[in-house]
Amino acid sequence: MRQCIMTVFVSLWLMGCGEQTWQTKDLSGLMPPLAFNLVDENGNDVTADQYLGRSTLLFFGFTHCPDICPTTLARLDAATQRLKETDRDDIQVLFVSVDPRRDDPASLRAYTDAFGPQFIGLTGNKAALDELTRRYRVTYGYGEEDGNGNYEVSHSSAVFAFNEQGKARVLIRDSDPMDAVVADLKTLVDDG
């Protein structure tokens, strides 16, 4: 009995200290804080500092991707819909296009607006994209052009979650169950 009370006490104490338990992949201390120099969907130069103060979900993709990218964005949308409104408003999704040749700010804006106001499109030149993808140890690449000028873009399919101070917290993958994603988004909003 005494041991039981002790366990409860210790876990309460740990929770009070901000030791969260995550259900998706814990990134705390494994990835650097949010930092980038990119161009937003209105054509303005932006840095990560401008996005602090809200929890951030960072995702790499490209708009000429009608299958994987919308599936991930739709999942994030469905997950945030399950949070209460104030929590939902505390989350922004940064969709970073690694295909700046086709994704000018206008098409990026049209794409992210189709998913909801919390989705923000960003892109940049090769140097800026390389710096950011290297920072989070992800890769991207271009396939060969076909006769119609179409080409494939390979990209990381995971979502990096940062708290409102820009600290890396979890990696959300397509294979993670919806309940786990919702629980972690809730923890993320309550964090810091």
Binding site: D67, A78, A110, T139
Partner: protein
């Protein structure tokens, strides 16, 4: 004489009738519509961004059948694609043809097989029914109506 329905009809006409019935019955016997398509839906994205087509393909026949392509009057270019994920990296690959074995079912669904519908020829709204023709290995062409849905269509 046997009491067949055509017994009272003159012989040349009777032969012609049987031949006609035989020809009529042949296409369904030789080129049966064994590939059945259900739940055809389209994920529509804004502007000039390609749409994705999803459906369930069921081979109800006794022989294997192959999907070799698709086209649509509403799009300049339609191809079969497959999304693949390897070591956390996603990409799409062209699929030249896809064989559905007798009695098997193949799902065209988010994150896997999909039709890549490019170069929209006219505006399409959510709720519209868009005709797409699936080209099969046995030379058959199958018209399917895809219902256009929001970008979050699963």
């Amino acid at each position: 004489m046997l009491p067949t329905p055509l017994a009272n009809i003159p012989r040349p006409v009777r032969i012609w009738c049987w031949t006609f019935l035989l020809i009529l019955g042949m296409p369904s016997a030789l080129f049966a519509a064994d590939l059945q398509i259900s739940d055809a839906r389209m994920r529509l994205l804004p502007g000039d961004i390609p749409a994705a087509g999803y459906f369930t393909l069921t081979n109800t026949g006794e022989t294997d059948n192959t999907l070799i392509g698709a086209d649509s009057a509403s799009f300049g270019n339609v191809t079969i694609h497959q999304s693949v994920s390897k070591n956390g990296v996603s990409s799409m690959q062209h699929v030249d043809q896809l064989t559905v074995a007798a009695g098997e079912q193949v799902e065209f669904a988010p994150g896997g097989y999909h039709l890549m519908l490019m170069k929209r020829k006219h505006p399409i709204a959510v709720g519209d029914e868009i005709e797409v023709t699936l080209l099969l290995g046995n030379g058959q062409r199958q018209n399917v109506k895809f219902r256009a849905g929001a970008p979050t269509t699963q």
